[in-house]
């Protein structure tokens, strides 16, 4: 009886500790989310209220129309469209180019293959910010400053995708394509109708991370897109910051708009993201 009672008391204590632990981390998480809260509640105030002293935690009057105004007048709608064009184009080109080269590295024999792969891997060590000056000069020489192709092309040929897809293609059993080869299918056909459909997890991952990297990219579009109409969202957000009278409410609305796709993707694809990062964790440093 006493041991049973003791066990029960013990169980109750661990349960209480669990709840306390959970509650404490929930509190930390809520504090962590505060900047999102501040952004959203300031997006729906009048600018006078944003700048009011002392600060009010919640708006007096909710100006829901701010979002529509930021979308049409500033024009964050236009910036949003530009960001979509740039991010989607870079993603499509990256997946196309990396599938072809990844297949060549994984399945085709040609002289110097391993050396070329090593060279591709070596380029991953070059920090992006180092290349912006020569890249700008190249884009300038090609007459592509302030054009979409000028922003898109120089960042669409990263070598990481080739490597990622090569690794995945290697894991696909060779027998699957040998049958097709005996039937006389070309390599391109095998790639398109056998390998790519089987590689959707890897291609999805490459698309996701390419899209997000471009959606969030700032320095490169800042340099290339000199005209306001062509600005992507991050560049657009900084355009109104330097004006005489900063309209913080509209900027907060724009910031919120710029965060929507990433937040949706992070929540909806959390399993894919976790699995890919846990792959990194498993390989870490090895």
């Amino acid at each position: 009886m006493t041991t049973k009672a003791k066990a029960k008391a013990n169980e109750r204590r661990t349960l209480a500790l669990d709840i306390l632990n959970h509650g404490a981390l929930t509190l930390v998480a809520l504090l962590f989310l505060f900047p999102f809260f501040w952004m959203l509640t300031n997006a729906v105030r009048s600018n006078a209220e944003v700048l009011a002293i002392p600060v009010r935690i919640l708006p007096n009057v909710y100006e829901w129309g701010n979002f529509a105004q930021a979308w049409t007048q500033l024009p964050f709608g236009r910036f949003f469209l530009n960001s979509v064009i740039v991010s989607v184009s870079v993603t499509v080109i990256t997946v196309f180019v990396s599938s072809l080269s990844g297949y060549a590295f994984a399945r085709l024999k040609f002289p110097g293959r391993d050396q070329l792969l090593m060279a591709y891997l070596a380029t991953l060590m070059v920090p992006g910010i180092m290349l912006i000056i020569p890249l700008y000069l190249i884009v300038n020489a090609m007459g592509m400053v302030n054009t979409f192709q000028g922003v898109i092309l120089p960042v669409a040929f990263g070598t990481f995708g080739s490597f990622l897809l090569r690794q995945f293609f290697l894991s696909i059993p060779l027998e699957l394509e040998e049958a097709a080869r005996i039937d006389g299918a070309s390599r391109l056909r095998i790639l398109v109708s056998i390998i790519i459909p089987l590689s959707m997890p890897a291609i999805g991952l490459l698309s996701l991370f390419t899209f997000i990297a471009q959606w969030n990219n700032f320095l490169w579009p800042l340099i290339v897109m000199t005209g306001q109409d062509n600005a992507t969202l991050p560049v657009g957000l900084t355009l109104f910051q330097t004006q005489q009278r900063t309209e913080w409410n509209f900027i907060m609305a724009g910031a919120a708009l710029s965060m929507i796709p990433g937040i949706i993707l992070a929540i909806v694809l959390q399993k894919l993201i976790y699995n890919s990062i846990s792959l990194n964790a498993g390989m870490g440093g090895r």
């Binding site: 900047p35 300031n42 180019v97 080269s101 024999k109 040609f110 669409a156 900027i251 964790a281 870490g284």
Partner: protein, 311 residues
């Protein structure tokens, strides 16, 4: 015999020829498959890398003819430019403080999350959210928080702490940049370390518990050594990205006040695209590359002392 030998011989050459023809066909396919990638990589990666080296030995100012100036850019950087050493100091200061805090906080959060019986994934998502949002938007939101008489000042005043407005203060501005960078950056490492902790075999911990090891000992003697390869990976990657810090600084301080938050990344932008000194900015870029290489090599040297591999 001779006949047999001859037939064998012909057979060999036939298969060899067919093999080499097949090989050539495969080589040609490989060439076409690699062509788009090779063109892009050559034009937008190989040529820029070479151009960057060459540029760093010229005085090109975008307009006019570039002139070869030898090591003049580097000599000017190291001996004459009054901004260079403060910028290097700021970059190292940022990298060191940010790196240490990022690893400590993300490891702490990862351990904390892994102690939960349920709901782990929701906490992972919450801390990961800023990783997927534009750094510029994050920095702008924090700028409003740190604005004079803004939310941060309001909290400080409520707590009766008297400090100057952070973004315009010589010392506090960098601290503000670090806070913002941490908020935006701890999520990735939190998920990374949490995933590594998930992979620690439960029976190791159970065996240690039965042997009477405390939670503290289990962490320092079992979990931490087992995830040290991942910890090392996270540290190296975080160091490389933090040496290139730019976005937060561009939005929040533009390198100011004075040069208090000017980093190498910001310097490259400023010299290259505001002063149009393309050659000089390229020299700064190579100094940054050298620093990245040295820091990474140092970490690889250091890992022998603390990273455990199980093979």
């Amino acid at each position: 015999m001779a006949v047999v030998e001859r037939t064998v011989g012909t057979k060999n050459t036939v298969t060899k020829r067919r093999k080499s023809r097949l090989g050539a066909g495969e080589g040609r396919t490989a060439f076409f498959f690699l062509l788009p990638s090779l063109i892009g990589v050559t034009l937008f990666l190989v040529v820029p890398i070479i151009a960057s080296v060459v540029l760093s030995f010229t005085n090109w100012k975008l307009l006019g003819q570039p002139q070869f100036v030898g090591f003049a850019n580097y000599i000017r950087l190291f001996t004459a430019d009054p901004q260079f050493w403060p910028v290097v100091r700021n970059t190292l200061f940022f990298t060191f403080e940010y790196l240490v805090l990022n690893i400590v906080i993300s490891l702490g959060l990862a351990v904390w999350i892994s102690s939960l019986k349920r709901g782990q994934r929701w906490f992972r998502v919450i801390f990961f959210l800023p990783t997927f949002t534009p750094g510029i938007a994050v920095a702008i939101v924090w700028m409003l928080i740190f604005a004079p008489d803004g939310f941060f000042d309001f909290i400080m005043r409520s707590l009766a702490i008297h400090i100057p407005s952070v973004l315009t203060d010589q010392n506090l501005a960098m601290q503000a940049v670090i806070v913002v960078s941490l908020w935006a950056g701890v999520g990735y490492n939190t998920v990374l370390f949490n995933a590594a902790l998930d992979m620690v075999p439960a029976n190791y911990l159970e065996a240690a518990r039965i042997d009477g090891a405390s939670a503290w000992d289990r962490f320092w003697k079992i979990r931490l050594p087992l995830i040290s390869p991942t910890l090392f990976f996270g540290t190296v990657m975080t160091a490389i990205t933090s040496l290139q810090v730019f976005d937060q600084i561009y939005v929040m301080t533009r390198g100011g006040p004075g040069t208090a938050t000017a980093t190498l990344g910001y310097s490259i932008f400023q010299k290259g695209f505001q002063n149009f000194q393309m050659g000089y900015a390229s020299a700064i870029a190579w100094v940054m590359f050298a620093m990245i290489m040295v820091l990474t090599a140092f970490q690889f040297w250091l890992q022998r002392k603390w990273v455990h591999y199980d093979n």
